[in-house]
Symmetry: C2
């Protein structure tokens, strides 16, 4: 407020105190100085604006007289609760309405048709209006079981002791101690790499986007899993690539079908989630892993291994990453801390062959210079102290319980004809709705009942998948999981009991 940018026009016939009054009145009319806001003292404002104090006093007095401001002795001057007459919308909005016709004509070709899947927008819009009591939306962690003490300690050590050395850091590939800690962490994924082969990114989404920038020309083909992660679809589409969906089964990406695609056309990139497929949580096993690597070799098509959910395994031995079996360096590894720390931390990483990594670092410089340093340094502390390993072990136990609760709830509440995956890892259960369900009606009724989930069509390229939904089981108690799934079951049963209003697609 002190620096309210007001430059008096000394050449104007309008006295300066009235010019200042006009400026303040306009800000109040537009709601930019909100009712009840305290104005700077006349002395402060006059110094800041280089005006005589009497000028500011006179302006204030006028506006108090007009009812724009109220003055309280010993407290100061405030914007009145009910300004005399307000212009309802700020000027920029009016301009915006005109510009709604101008701007689209200026958009780059590749972004004209770009859009988030409508079903995701619908869920997000509903949740913005009313918080959802039963949130099965994908991509969450247990907010009730955060390692809060460890996080507090890690952030505090960084902010209290290390800021002077970190404040001016410029390291596009990421904070060096974090890259070292990630390289060490990757030993647990069967990957042997050095810190110089690691690029820290803002979550796996940035990894996918940087790959799209560096490897994809418009018209290039990318093979993606279908169903598969919509963030990958968005990143590759935005680069103008053609996406070919490859079907998945209980082991994820079907390499027999991928082979047909690779034989039929030149594929620039193959995108897969072998440890825990998104959204079915299926795990790829041998010999399919070897088949995937062999296809990549034969067709010279690099593989993006999106290992986003790999640390969450509830049964059997850990599944090593494909990258560990990749002597040719053709696998581009993408990992993230979104699912084992929290998603809004926005820290992921990539491991790639040196020649590719150098270009990715450059693309990262262009995109946003470097990752923010405070979260990186705090995460490095969490990794080095062993606190993150401890947390992951606790989360495996908790999430296994919640997965079991989800599977039991589905068993208890779903109508006949529904089916679902039984994940050994990951954070999602993939549900197939009974024939005859109305997916739009289900989503509408569920949101009204405080239940949100990710609709199946969000994971498809072409509007298919409406008979599916993905349920995240990590961020609700076992009781809440039971209640939320019961609500879904009730809606489905009432749908199936009454005559269908809409034909199925």
């Amino acid at each position: 407020m002190i620096d309210l940018a007001f430059v008096p026009d000394r050449a104007s016939p309008i006295p300066v105190y009235r010019q200042l009054g006009d400026a303040l009145r306009a800000l109040i009319d537009r709601g930019r100085l909100a009712a009840g806001v305290k104005l700077p003292a006349t002395r402060e404002l006059s110094v800041a604006l280089g005006l005589h104090r009497n000028t500011v006093s006179r302006t204030y007095q006028d506006l108090v007289g007009e009812g724009y401001l109220t003055a309280h002795v010993g407290q100061g001057t405030f914007v009145a609760r009910r300004p005399p007459q307000g212009v309802p919308r700020p000027a920029s909005h009016d301009a915006g309405e005109v510009d709604a016709f101008v701007w689209p004509g200026l958009f780059a070709r590749r972004v004209r048709d770009l859009a988030v899947p409508p079903s995701l927008r619908r869920v997000a819009a509903a949740a913005r209006k009313v918080p959802m009591r039963y949130s099965f939306r994908g991509g969450q962690i247990a907010a009730d079981a955060l390692p809060e003490r460890d996080l507090r300690r890690a952030f505090d050590r960084v902010v209290s002791y290390r800021l002077p050395e970190l404040a001016n850091l410029h390291e596009p590939r990421g904070y060096a101690p974090l890259r070292r800690a990630i390289a060490q962490h990757l030993v647990t994924r069967g990957i042997a790499c050095g810190a110089e082969e690691v690029l820290v990114v803002n979550g796996s989404q940035q990894a996918l986007d940087l790959l799209a920038r560096v490897l994809l020309d418009p018209g290039d083909t990318v093979a993606v899993e279908e169903p598969g992660y919509f963030g990958a679809t968005l990143a590759f589409s935005a680069a103008g690539a053609n996406l070919v969906g490859v079907p998945v089964d209980a082991q994820g990406l079907r390499t027999d079908r991928l082979e047909r695609v690779l034989q039929a056309r030149r594929v620039k990139l193959v995108c897969a989630t072998p440890s825990a497929h998104c959204p079915t949580s299926a795990t790829m096993r041998e010999p399919r892993r070897r088949a995937l690597l062999a296809l990549s070799d034969e067709h010279q098509a690099p593989i993006v291994e999106d290992d986003y959910d790999s640390e969450l395994r509830y049964e059997g031995a850990p599944i090593p990453a494909l990258k560990g079996q990749d002597p040719a360096g053709r696998v581009i590894y993408v990992g993230t801390f979104s699912k084992i720390v929290f998603p809004s931390l926005r820290i992921g990483y990539m491991v790639a062959a040196p020649a590719l990594l150098e270009k990715l670092v450059l693309a990262r410089w262009v995109a946003d210079a470097q990752p923010p340093v405070v979260p990186q340094a705090a995460l490095a502390e969490l990794l080095a102290s062993g606190a993150l390993d401890r947390h992951v072990r606790r989360m495996r136990k908790l999430y296994a319980e919640r997965r079991d609760a989800m599977l039991a709830a589905l068993e208890a509440s779903m109508p006949v004809g529904a089916a679902w995956s039984r994940p050994a890892g990951g954070h999602l259960v993939w549900v197939t709705l009974p024939p005859g369900t109305d997916p739009d009606g289900l989503l509408e009724a569920a949101l009204a009942a405080g239940v949100e989930y990710t609709p199946g069509e969000a994971f498809h390229l072409d509007g298919r998948g409406r008979e599916h939904l993905a349920l995240c089981f990590t961020n609700l108690t076992r009781e809440a999981i039971g209640e939320g799934v019961a609500r879904l079951g009730e809606i489905l049963r009432s749908q199936l009991a009454r005559p269908r209003r809409r034909s199925e697609r």
Copy 2:
């Protein structure tokens, strides 16, 4: 470590304890399990890998026998300080050397020639080897005057009390309380906008990059200041745009020259830094500001107003942003907290017409989903508490002193024929070297003497500008500024005293 991804091949004739031994040996040989690292206890590792404890014990014993591990009673098992024989390089490096020939053939056309200015790379490489005692490199803040107590309090409040509600947040346009605080903060720049018109980005670099994505097709023309900010050049070049440099003078961008460009060709975007030009720190005044807006209107060319350094003003009244004089909504405003909090915080923002902003939000979703929430929430605290305003006032005073020290040092130490800007704002002084200087030799000798700066050619499109350099005066004490500039002066004088070894370009 506990989750070392090792899957025994039960069908193999090699016993499992030897398979595990091979795996550990490989990790040690490649330096992935570093000397001195403590291994998990046999019980822990056996549970984690699903092996019998005796199997793990036998592996450990063998490796101790071979000298790979050392065992200390009561302490545990460790990687030996001197493993028997190390394979010097990890396998992925060998692959990388092969792939140095393969990957470039896969690069997208638009990134093939993309590169950070070589002079910047050179400075960064030297500074990575030896920290520079006198760092005049552009883009720094006073690391010795951070608002550490306020930052500590802000981060602690967020991490201690707010994580459960923030951990699963998904808000591509930025954390709502921060957007509200930014809209309020912009009143001080003369901009009236609502929180819904603000997009939080990872520093101004991401703002420029998102604009390039959303507005630029390959071959489109962008008019940029020359000299000007290399980050803008990188972002627009990476989108395949043609850049046209418009000369600057003591008021920044020359609108007479811009007009000629706009008459000669279709320009998609005009990029300017009217409050404090990068790198000369010149301020654009009326009537040139009105001329710039009129040109934008006449030629339907949106203006990117990069206001990155505007809060740092040492003389005269604050200069309102161009955006505040823009009823048509054709100015896209870009601001940042890099210069008033610290650069590695990575928080900037944009204000744009609603139709454009929606597309920018989508591009942001594609780029990296959303900004990290902890720094955003901490910054919102800093803004709301008034701590940031207080800090900016302190920095204005400190930086004005350091600027004066810089100007005095240049006066005292520069040889005849040198010239420099006398900035009323910003963080840089732009120096013109005397005729006959060898810029490469100067940089080399300066780096060897512990002095770094940003070479002038980094701010040009075509290798020109070698007779200039930018000196940042914010992050050194007055004494250090004097010493560093004196060293530069000595090098220059010794260069001018001896016969030239290289011809000037």
